[in-house]
């Protein structure tokens, strides 16, 4: 059975909007971080899929997604570090409690 490109795209779109939904609705910082990862991964998937189906003789999409994965790993590490520090300071990682910088 041949797997069409659209299947991948449907999956990645679902992942993307699930990420958006989670980003907007979750109140826990970790959940928000996970939502961001979902968004990034859906995009990575798009890169690979478009490269594979539309330009099979080229490699840019694959490499680009590799870079994106590396950078998102760094970003996650930084975000986790920030979240741990926040937790140490206020014993809480609920986004609505993070208003010390506001006033």
């Amino acid at each position: 059975m041949e797997i069409h490109m659209e299947y991948y795209l449907v999956i990645s779109t679902i992942m993307f909007f699930a990420g958006i939904y989670g980003f907007i609705t979750r109140r826990n910082l970790l959940a928000i971080l996970i939502s961001i990862e979902l968004i990034l991964n859906s995009v990575d998937m798009n890169f690979v899929v478009f490269n594979r189906y539309l330009f099979p003789e080229q490699m840019e999409g694959l490499f680009f997604s590799l870079f994106a994965i590396g950078i998102s790993a760094c970003e996650t590490a930084v975000a986790i570090a920030i979240i741990i520090n926040i937790y140490r300071n206020i014993r809480n990682i609920q986004a609505k409690n993070l208003n010390q910088l506001k006033d």
Partner: protein, 634 residues
């Protein structure tokens, strides 16, 4: 004579040095620096005077020398303000008077202010005052004079309020500043009117006797008088404020809250005669262009002299008596200027006024310094706490007596000569005015000897400790000033200073002189009879006319009148509505604006939550909307 610049610069430098380094210096060092600087200034002033007065006359006239002048501010091509030094007979005479009295006060203060808090500050203010006063007298133009005029006002304010922990002193300094400042407003308006019509500030040009300069101002009328008269009258208002002429005199008696040497320097000898000096400086203009203003000056002066003399007769505070006596004597000088004409014998009044200014500065400074020594000894200003001091304070007693005789006009002391010239000039102008002024001269003799007997004779009052003679640093200036008072009358003053700069030989008018001496002697005799021994007569006299006595004691309710006018009328009818308007309409408008924008920002700030998720949600919604629009429209 270029070194004359130093007379001005040295006190200024001393002010800066003492003001900046004051607290780091020991009091003795600060005092010595101030005194030494003034000593040098005095020597330079004497040298300047000797050089100036020994210069040959040009066509029989002493000419005015402008030593140097710097352009300070240029308004238009024709109108600019300069700063410079002008030497002419009266400014040189004033240089001598100011530096002499100031030096004496500096020396005296070493003893009088010994151990006071703020000793260094005191000396730096004294230097500031001396600098400003010297700058005032050597001004080349009326605007420079105005600048220094305000500077002496400031230093007077600072020194009256020297004991700033005392509420009366603070109130007195404020009163002095506000009253003189109010008068200076008139002065400034006068200057502006004058310069607007003549296009010049320079005394040289104004006093050159060129009538065409004033024709424009004289031709314009305002409320029935020519603009020229208004300008000159307003300028006189400034002089009246500084010289404590009725009704702007109210600050001077209160100014006695300052240290006594300050009263001697500022409120007796130098600053308060600035008004007389101002009129004398512009005398050719007054005399040629606006003789009616001169009459006004004479009337104001005569009334002030009478008023102050009457009040002085019933005051009990020694410094208040001297303050009113100063007001009265300045009234004499004003009258003398007012009745004077230009040139030759006509200019007798001008010469007499300057002569009296000179002698009065010496003997009134002496009186104040004696008063300081007495206050130093008995720690009170009230006459009733004194009495019988002649045994304890021989030097003060003798010098005070000399000064009293001088101010009473007994020959051969200096006051006799100058006052006699004033009376002679007044009699020539109008016999009625002459009689009035002679009567005031009698009053002067009476109240001075009332003061003298109450302090040095009469019943000895209980003292906290036995009064003692003042230290050397205080008696030395007394002796020096007394010596000057004795001999100053024999100076051929007319050869130095006269209205048109020509030599004028003083002839005693024996009829007037004799009459004035008789009046003075009679007044002294009455004072002797009443006050030498404690007698019930003065009290009985006071009881016989309670209204007059009380009114005079309360200074004819001038202070109450001022308070009534300012507090009741001006505050209630003018200031209060304006304050209401300011608070409710002007402030209300802007407060309302601020309130509105605050409310608006509260409404908007909800959007700026800082919650990234919310922003993301909005971005998403926006994207959806735009996408929908794009889909529909394309």
């Amino acid at each position: 004579m270029e070194y004359s610049v130093l007379i001005l610069l040295l006190p200024f430098l001393s002010f800066i040095a003492l003001g900046l380094l004051g607290t780091k210096l020991k009091p003795v060092v600060a005092g010595s620096i101030g005194t030494a600087v003034l000593g040098i200034c005095a020597l330079l002033a004497y040298a300047t005077a000797a050089t100036y007065f020994s210069m040959p006359r040009m066509d029989g006239v002493r000419e005015a020398i402008t030593l140097f002048t710097v352009e300070w501010l240029r308004f238009t091509d024709t109108l600019s303000i300069e700063l410079g030094i002008l030497l002419d007979p009266i400014s040189v005479m004033m240089l001598v008077v100011i530096t002499t009295v100031s030096l004496m006060v500096h020396i005296y203060s070493l003893g009088y202010m010994h151990g006071e808090r703020g000793f260094q500050r005191y000396y730096s203010f004294l230097s500031l005052f001396t600098f400003s006063m010297l700058g005032l007298v050597v001004a080349t133009n009326i605007f420079q004079m105005y600048i220094f005029w305000e500077l002496v006002g400031v230093s007077s304010y600072l020194l009256i309020g020297f004991y700033y922990t005392k509420p009366e002193a603070v109130a007195a300094s404020k009163k002095a500043f506000i009253v003189t400042r109010f008068a200076d407003l008139g002065f400034l308006i006068g200057i502006l009117i004058l310069s607007y019509y003549t296009n010049t500030f320079s005394f040289d040009v104004l006093n050159a006797g060129d009538a065409s300069l004033f024709s424009k101002a004289a031709g314009t009328t305002f409320m029935g008088c020519s603009v020229m008269s208004w300008a000159m009258a307003l300028i006189f208002m400034g002089g009246a404020g500084k010289s404590a002429m009725f009704p702007l005199h109210i600050w001077l008696p209160d100014a006695m809250e300052g240290p006594t040497p300050v009263s001697a320097l500022i409120h007796a000898a130098t600053m308060v005669v600035a008004g007389v000096y101002l009129v004398a400086r512009l005398f050719p203009v007054y005399s040629m262009e606006t003789p009616e203003v001169l009459v006004l000056i004479a009337v104001v002066g005569a009334f002030t002299a009478l008023y102050a003399a009457v009040v002085a007769c019933v005051q009990t505070d020694i410094k208040r008596v001297l303050a009113f006596s100063t007001i009265s004597q300045i009234g004499f000088m004003m009258v003398s200027l007012g009745v004077s004409g230009m040139g030759g014998h006509e200019g007798l009044g001008y010469m007499a006024s300057m002569f009296h200014l000179f002698t009065h500065a010496m003997f009134k400074a002496l009186l104040f310094l004696c008063a300081g020594a007495i206050i130093h000894a008995v720690h009170s200003n009230e006459m009733s706490h004194m009495g019988g001091l002649r045994k304890y304070m021989p030097v003060t007693h003798v010098t005070f007596l000399i000064a009293c005789l001088a101010i009473a006009g007994i020959p051969p002391f200096s006051g006799f000569f100058s006052k006699d010239e004033i009376l002679a000039a007044t009699f020539e102008f109008s016999p009625v005015l002459g009689v009035v002024m002679s009567f005031i001269a009698g009053l002067t003799a009476f109240y001075m000897f009332r003061l003298y007997y109450n302090i040095f004779w009469g019943e000895e009052s209980r003292h906290e400790h036995t009064p003692h003679e003042a230290p050397k640093s205080m008696t030395m200036p007394l002796v020096f000033l007394a010596a000057v008072t004795v001999v100053a009358g024999f100076i051929p003053f007319g050869h130095f200073v006269s209205s048109d700069g020509t030599a004028y030989t003083i002839h005693l008018n024996w009829a007037v002189a004799g009459a004035s001496v008789v009046v003075a002697v009679v007044a002294i005799a009455i004072a002797t009879a009443l006050y030498r021994k404690k007698s019930p007569v003065p009290d009985r006299m006071a009881a016989a006319m309670p209204g007059l006595h009380h009114a005079a004691f309360r200074r004819f309710y001038m202070d109450e009148l001022y308070l009534f006018i300012t507090k009741r009328i001006i505050f209630n009818c003018v200031s209060r509505p304006i304050a209401w308007f300011d608070r409710h309409v002007i402030d209300g408008f802007f407060n309302g604006l601020a309130y509105l924008s605050q409310r608006a920002s509260y409404a908007v700030r909800v959007i700026q939550s800082g919650q990234v998720q919310q922003y993301a949600y909005v971005i998403l919604l926006g994207t959806v909307v735009i996408a929908a629009l794009v889909l529909w429209l394309l």
